[in-house]
């Protein structure tokens, strides 16, 4: 079969006796099936593997194959005076594996307010960055966010993106990737507006690189509302004021912006409160899977409750010395994820996996 191998490794194979994996495009088909950790190790195998696994097209295909992972933020109780956050992601499988007490977590660097996407026409990796600026003099400051687009691997100056004149007042919203990453669908990134008087979603078109807004069925605080992607459809969840019920809307028609209420999940609040040994507490829910599994937490306890789409309590988890907060759902279709920058390298954080981009300083 060696006659069909067109490309060979840069080195001679004459010394090796056994069969050798052909070095050509089938290598990508193999490597794309590995986890991000295993893939990163493969980068050190040889130069050609490093090159293959660094290509944007390969990374995108690899990213799409990765399972969805809930991202959980921990408020470390030991240092609660400093409100220090550690970020960690938990694989759904890990969540189901007892015992959880004492399970370590991976501290990640602070996530920057940025979103990564593949630019529609150029195929380049771009970053949409949000920076809250300080205006004014004599100590009077107002925070208005400014948006810039940067190109990975380019030394070009960041390009300022203006909001449309009819956009919601800039001071009422900004997207924070570390808390709720944007949802990528139909070539656009979507964010729910939190604590905004208007029922709107902000939309960033990754082809034209401009902002617009679209209708939302609900508005609420960040703890209460969550934008999701389910089966290629935008969805939004909302916890009611009593924190016992979650409503889930689906965007039936993307073009006209028609939402329908798809589900109402009633949680076993009494049961969960008895676990916490309290008469009353607030619960916040985060949908973490396509099967509408929900993770619930309250603001103070070390417990995390795992309910199914019917509102049945499936599992409960407890960490000692840390307060977990589900931060969202890392969808498999989403090229945008939480990002952090350290040492000038952009790091795309995907659950417990890191894919590092050789990249420009941000």
């Amino acid at each position: 079969m060696s006659g069909t191998i067109g490309v060979t490794l840069e080195q001679s194979r004459s010394r090796t006796a056994g069969p050798v994996l052909p070095e050509n495009h089938v290598v990508s088909e193999i490597l794309v099936r590995l986890s991000a950790k295993a893939l990163l190790r493969c980068r050190a195998v040889c130069h050609s593997w490093h090159r293959r696994t660094s290509e944007a097209a390969f990374l995108l295909v690899h990213h799409r194959r990765q399972p969805s992972l809930p991202l959980v933020t921990f408020l470390a109780a030991a240092s609660s005076s400093q409100s220090q956050h550690s970020h960690a992601s938990l694989d759904t499988l890990d969540l189901r594996l007892p015992p959880l007490i004492g399970v370590g977590w991976t501290p990640l660097p602070r996530l920057a307010d940025a979103a990564l996407y593949l630019h529609g026409s150029s195929g380049e990796c771009h970053i949409l960055r949000c920076k809250r600026r300080r205006y004014g003099d004599h100590g009077l400051t107002t925070n208005a966010p400014a948006y810039h687009v940067l190109t990975i691997g380019s030394s070009a100056e960041p390009r300022r993106i203006e909001l449309a004149s009819n956009a919601p007042r800039a001071s009422t919203w900004w997207f924070r990737c570390s808390e709720r990453p944007g949802i990528l669908l139909h070539g656009c990134l979507h964010w729910a507006l939190h604590s905004s008087p208007e029922k709107l979603l902000m939309v960033f078109d990754t082809v034209t690189e401009s902002f617009r807004s679209m209708p939302s069925p609900i508005t609420g605080t960040q703890e209460r509302t969550q934008l999701l992607e389910m089966d290629n459809t935008l969805a939004i969840s909302w916890m009611d004021m009593c924190e016992t019920t979650m409503r889930l809307w689906l965007l039936q028609d993307y073009e006209t912006g028609v939402w329908t209420l798809s589900r109402r999940i009633i949680f076993p609040v009494t049961e969960m409160r008895s676990v916490l040994n309290v008469k009353w507490c607030r619960f916040y829910g985060t949908v973490v899977s396509q099967e509408r599994y929900v993770l619930l937490h309250d603001s103070h306890s070390s417990y995390l409750f795992h309910c199914d789409g019917e509102g049945k309590l499936v599992r409960k988890f407890c960490w000692s010395g840390a307060v977990p907060r589900p931060a969202g759902h890392i969808g498999s279709q989403r090229a945008s994820s939480g990002m952090s920058s350290s040492e000038g390298n952009m790091v795309l954080v995907r659950g417990d996996n890191h894919v590092s981009f050789k990249a420009s300083r941000v």
Partner: protein
């Protein structure tokens, strides 16, 4: 050898086609099985491969081709049912058992299969063999991967790069 689902509008006995390996061995196989190959499917739809003609496959030797056809014959009935959405659990389990055993083979045969599956564009076989090699890679260090896959020993510079990589991305090696 007549398959109960000779389907696709063919009436009566299943249509047969002949494939010719690089070392000139002739294989006669049901068109439905050979059509698992996207490459062959077009030729077969055009009426090729029948009678005494045969379809030459200059990139595939007879040992590999017979292995490829073993896979195609086993998977053809399920594929004819449109990916077998209504297949029974027993059928699926049987295919899974077959697949697991099928890739339990020498590395040289596995590598030949990878190339053949790619050249013939047999989607299921491509994923099956790619997954097998991926399983051989996962959990291994770069050095172990090189040895497993039969790559030559690294040069001192490559060794130094591997060490540097491990230092920089320690968390990926835990």
């Amino acid at each position: 050898m007549a398959a109960p689902e000779s389907g696709d509008g063919n009436n009566g006995a299943a249509r047969m086609v002949t494939l010719i390996s690089s070392d000139n061995t002739r294989f006669e196989v049901e068109a439905a099985a050979a059509s698992l190959s996207q490459t062959l499917q077009l030729t077969i739809l055009d009426g090729g491969g029948g009678g005494g003609d045969g379809i030459p496959l200059p990139n595939v030797d007879s040992a590999t081709l017979s292995k490829v056809l073993e896979y195609c014959i086993k998977h053809a009935p399920a594929a004819a049912n449109g990916g077998a959405p209504n297949a029974t659990a027993v059928d699926r389990a049987e295919l899974e058992r077959f697949d697991n055993e099928f890739v339990n083979i020498d590395q040289s045969v596995l590598y030949s299969l990878i190339m053949a599956a790619h050249n013939l564009e047999i989607e299921g076989l491509q994923s099956l063999v790619a997954k097998k090699v991926a399983d051989m890679i996962k959990g291994k260090s770069p050095m172990e991967i090189r040895r497993t896959l039969g790559f030559p020993d690294p040069t001192p510079e490559e060794q130094a790069e591997m060490n540097a990589h491990m230092l920089e991305y320690g968390w990926a090696y835990e």
